[in-house]
Amino acid sequence: MDKISVNRSKIKKSEHIFAVKVKTESNGLGVLKTFIVLLLIALQAGILILSYLYVSQLFQWYLMLSLILSFVICIYVLSSDYHGQAKAMWVLFLITCFGFACFIYFLSDKHILFARARKKYNKILKQTENLQEQSDLSSVANNEVKTNCQYLYNAGKFVTDLNSRSIFFPSGAQLFDSILSELEKAKEFIFIEYFIISNGVLFNRIFDILKEKAQVGVDVRIIYDDMGSHGTLKRKTKKQIISAGIKLHPFNRLVPVFNIALNLRDHRKIVVVDGKTAFTGGANLADEYINEKRMHGYWKDCGIKIEGKAVDNLTISFLTQWQFLNNKPIDYKKYLNKAESFKSTGVTVPFVSGPNYQFSIAQNIYANEIANAKEKLYIMTPYFIPDETITNLIINKARSGVDVRIILPEVADKKFVYVVSRNNVEKLILHGVKVYTMTSSFVHSKIILTENSAIVGSINMDLRSFNQQFESAIFTNETTTLQAINDDFDNTIKHSQLITKKTLKRNKLHFRILAGLFNLISPFM
């Protein structure tokens, strides 16, 4: 301490302060500190060297093990029923990020985590397959239509009805106005199944009616997808729904229970009222779908209403899902044969699709529909990420002189999906496909229209809808409905821009690079 004070006094006296060295500690303490620091450094170095030697040895084992396991899993992936691009992507992903990729694959593969659920579904589907009989299709003049009806029956026991009628709605607003007026008429049961249910004006309008109906003894049941409605349907609202006497069930909870793969989502949009009327389409139960909330410009959506015996297909599909979620047997017959017959100009086949069926019904019926087009093939979809089969079919149709038109949104909801969709669709322009983007709008309608028939529903033209999601749609060749859909295409094209070879985004290098990168993960989209 003395030394310090001496030195300090020196500083005070000194003229050249900066030249004076000030000692603040005793030498003994400094030596001890230095020794401790050196010891710690040596210890750290020792740990590093040892761990390097140990880990490098372990790393060799890890490499060996991951190589063997990658090889085994890659063989498993290659022999799976994924399509070519998905297989290639999974193999690449498994080889480059083995541990993480394995975990993701484990979570997403429907054969691993979905196996138990599939068994359960099969059991339920077996119970329901004889509930309805297929109609006599001999009166169906068009062979292509007849083939599709037959396919839907063979693939999922979706019967064709010749005495049902349908009404097409070119917007979510019109669709939900019709749903509201039908809900008000309900006397026995209301079944609602949606991917997204969101708090808002539309929900309030529907909930007000459902509350009233539940109070007078109408059986009201709602299924919502837990991921789709995550953050949009508040917990408080769920409690209100249940306390109003409405039966509510989430599909595939986000809490990782591992009884069903997490990426398998219920994308269906179904409303069934008394087994007499049913609705499906592209629109979810949220304000943006009726343009009462602005999200991505104008929201172009659509829907379809059916009346008649064909409703039973959707009633059974809803109840199948309900039985799967509740594990309680259902007396299906109690809810069937409620509708009257109508004079119809064509067939109506409501159907659903999903990983619970042996084949991808959605993809196959789309492929059939495209293959059957001889004069025109109009497609409206928010996303365009099909596999090679569908892409080649569309190209062949365009090259064969079929008038192929595809309408996509101009405004993107998910930027990376939009880049891939746009890239895929622009490749078709070179083969004569006319591609339009609806100005300042997000097109969310999912429609395929040919000169003979149409499919309207929730099925996007992408791999998720084909392979991973539970979807709902209606196949019809009713003249008035086909005309209404055709008018919707004409009207939408009026508000759209035709993409020409000069306006291709692919002309820009940065777009091609981005598209190439995003394309790698497109099987996930």
């Binding site: 917007s171 607003a173 106005d177």
Partner: protein, 182 residues
Amino acid sequence: MMKINNYKDYDTLTLYVKKNKLKEIIENYQIFGWELVKEQENDRYEDIVDLTFTRPHKIANKDELQLQQVYMEEKLNELGKLERHKHSKTTSIGLCFGTLALAFIIIGVLVALKTNSVTGLVGGIVVAIVGVLLIVVECIILFKLYKNETTIYEQRHNDLESELFMITKTVTELTGGEYGQD
């Protein structure tokens, strides 16, 4: 207020509008059948007003009206952006060159004043003159740029105004009202 809470029969729309655009925005939305039911100062921003409109839920040509409204909102937003960036290039280039020229002048004057040598004095004056010249050149460039930007602005402004007029015309045809050009 009754209409705002009556979500069964009425649609509601809330807008946050700059005070200087208030009249124009209200008029534009009224063409679409929206009725102003509430107007109040924004809690956070002094120059913003919160507007609440209502419209009967069931109206004719609703889909087309909604689509045209999106087009109108897009044009109005573009118009606002255009006005905000009316002379953005002139301003930014002017600021950059101006600062540079000013720096030259100050450095030149300081060098000339502080130096004891003739070389330093001459050097300082030269640097200051370069600064002055920069200002002259900048003025000429900025004048041309300003004129150019004004032309582009006026052209786009007129285009947007006529596009808005076309939207108004389409909408009034849909609602069965009357339209006119100012």
